[in-house]
Structure formats: C-alpha cells, structure tokens
Symmetry: C2
Subunit: 209 residues, 2 copies
C-alpha cells in the first residue's frame, strides 16, 4: 500500500510536470498566434492567458516579466531553426547542393509565423529591451549555429569569425527578403533571390574575406 501511494505521488508529480511544461508551451503558442493575428499591440498578459486557456497567474508563474516571455519566443525560434537544419540531406552531395538546401530550408523557417512574430517583437521592443540578456542569448545561438554549419560544410576552411560572417550574411539577406515580401506580397522571382543568396553563400564558404 505504501508502495502504491508512493507510485501515485510519482505519477501525480509527473502529470503536474507535464502539464506545467505544456502550459508554458501553450503560452508561447498563444503569444505567437496573438501577435500574428492582431499584432504586438494585442499581446497583453490578459489576452495571452485567454488564448492559452490558462489563468493570468499561470502566465505570471512561467514568465515573471514580459521580457522573459519574448525571450522564450526567440529561444523557440532558434530551436526550431536548428531542428530544421538537423537534416541528413544536408550532409551529402556537392557544396552547391548543400548550400542550396540550407537556404531553402532556412527560407521555410523565415516564412513561419514564429519568425515573423520574432521580428515584430524585436522591432517593437527595440528601445525598451534589456539588451544584455538578449545579447547573451544570441552569443549562445551563434555558437550552436556555427557547430551545425561546420557539420554541413566540413570542407570549409574559414575561421570562426569568418564563418559567423557567412551565416550572418545569409541570415541578413533572408531576413530582409522576409520583410520585403510583407511590404510587397506580389514580389516576383523569390526563387531568383534565393539563388543569389545561395551563390553568395557558396562564394563566401569557398573564399575567405
């Protein structure tokens, strides 16, 4: 009987933990959906709680400040990008083919509601942001991305700084293209811009600057 009770305690704890985890994820989902449909303006604690179907105190429990909630979106955005480029197809074939697939997969990520919400958060909080925290976050992200890129392009001889610049250049171009497609939804020849981006990436991977 003691054993059974103890088991129950364990399973209850487990269930609570799982629920806690999913509440946190639901809050992030709600925040992204809210920003996508109604803009950053709409992302009040009350509405996030409503959309996530949790109480406002649950939101407060998981995210002591709004800045923490926004950081969670940035972190998830980063995690999803790493997951997207964790693709065996990126590990074989010619350099050009791998670079092309890398750009195409990245572009898919940049078109997601999550990435658009991330840009909107960055723009909206640019004067109020706690810069140090976000910078630490991006330093860590930069290291992880560089490791992944070294796995994908093992022939690349660039040092860390030059490799980081290749990644940043590619990221910068795709971010700009994302903003441009919002201004100009009829933008023609997206494929052409992605090919330019791929070619530039190949040139940079081959030639240290």
């Amino acid at each position: 009987m003691t054993k059974s009770r103890s088991n129950n305690v364990v399973s209850i704890k487990k269930a609570v933990k799982a629920d806690t985890g999913s509440a946190r994820e639901k809050i992030i989902d709600a925040l992204v959906a809210l920003i996508t449909e109604q803009g950053f303006v709409a992302a009040t604690n009350r509405r996030v709680a409503e959309w996530a179907e949790v109480s406002q105190s649950t939101v407060q429990y998981h995210f002591s400040t709004k800045a923490r909630m926004f950081e969670a979106v940035l972190q998830r955005c980063h995690a999803e990008f790493l997951q997207l480029v964790d693709n065996d197809a990126l590990l074989s074939g010619r350099l050009e083919a791998r670079a092309n697939l890398f750009v195409v997969l990245s572009w898919r990520h940049y078109q997601s509601a999550l990435y658009l919400a991330t840009i909107e958060i960055l723009m909206a909080t640019r004067s109020q942001r706690e810069i140090v925290t976000l910078t630490q976050l991006t330093d860590h992200q930069a290291v992880e991305q560089r490791q992944r890129i070294r796995e994908i392009f093992p022939e690349c001889q660039l040092d860390d700084r030059a490799l980081a610049e290749v990644l940043t250049s590619t990221h910068v171009f795709l971010t700009g293209l994302t903003v441009e497609t919002i201004l100009e939804p009829k933008l023609v020849n997206i494929g052409g811009y992605l090919r330019r981006c791929t070619r530039a990436m190949v040139v940079m991977l081959k030639t240290p600057v």
Copy 2:
C-alpha cells in the same frame, strides 16, 4: 483698400496653407518619434495629437484613417531616400566607387528613426493592412528608384526587371542588416557587410542574370 484686403486674403490663405502643411508634417514627425520611443503600441490618435501639439480633429482632418497616416510615413521614407541619393558625387568615378557610395548613403538612411519606424509599421500591420494601396505605392516608388539608379549607373545594360532585382537585392540585404543590428547592437564589422553588399551589387550591375 480693396487691393490691400485682397492681399490680406491671399496672405492669410497662404499662411493657413503653410500651417496646414506643417501640421501634417508635425503629425508625421510625432508618429515617428512616438513609435521610436514607445513602440507602435503607443501610436494612438490621442498621443499622436499630443506629441504633434495639434488637436485630435486636426489629426483626423489630415488622416481620415490610421492606414493613411502609415502610408504618409512610407511615402516620406521613400522621399528621403530619393533625396539622399540625389547626390552629385554619385554621378562620377568608377562603377565600384559609385556603388560603394550608393550603399553607404543607403545604409545611413536605413539606420534612421524614420526607416526603423517604417519597418515596425510594416511588421505590426501585416495582417490588417490594405494591401492594394501599399502595393500601388511601392510600384510608383520602384519606378522612381529605377530612374535614379539609371542616372547613377548609365553603363548598366540590364533591362528594367533585372535592374529592379539588383535594387531589391541591395535593399533586402540592408533591411536585414538593419534588423540584425537591432537584435545584436554589438554586431562587429558592419563595414565588412557593407563591402559584401557593394561587391554583390557591382557583380549584379555588370552581369545580367
């Protein structure tokens, strides 16, 4: 006496017209300043009127809807860009030097509060926007920009569509770099990214794709 009165009427009309013009400009100034300091969230009609030191009905008189006010920011952004590249120094020297100056001047524009406010407006209104109006605006802008670029690079043999793609690629890269410097204010080697952008522009101007 009649003459004098008529003169007065003219000068009063002129003064009112000037005031009207400046109220409109003051409202746009206020909107940009408000977005810069407090974010898009803060851009209510009431606060814009306060910051512009005009009445709310004056705001309403000049901008029947918020969308009109946002379009005015985009239009001013475009006009300032054209003014910035209306620079005699862009009309002489080697192609590489002209491209370099074009990128440097453009970058100055992209770093302005006006351009940052423009990106923030685009991101914040992406689901609610009256797309047709903005697209017409950008079609018109594209034509003006292409004319200016033909004056700067008369040796360029590209057709309109290819030339538009060169401009868009350059714009896309600089927009992305702008967003990146907001995420990463310590971003090193901005000069290096601008040189990459210039080199890509030179290659595109010389080689039809």
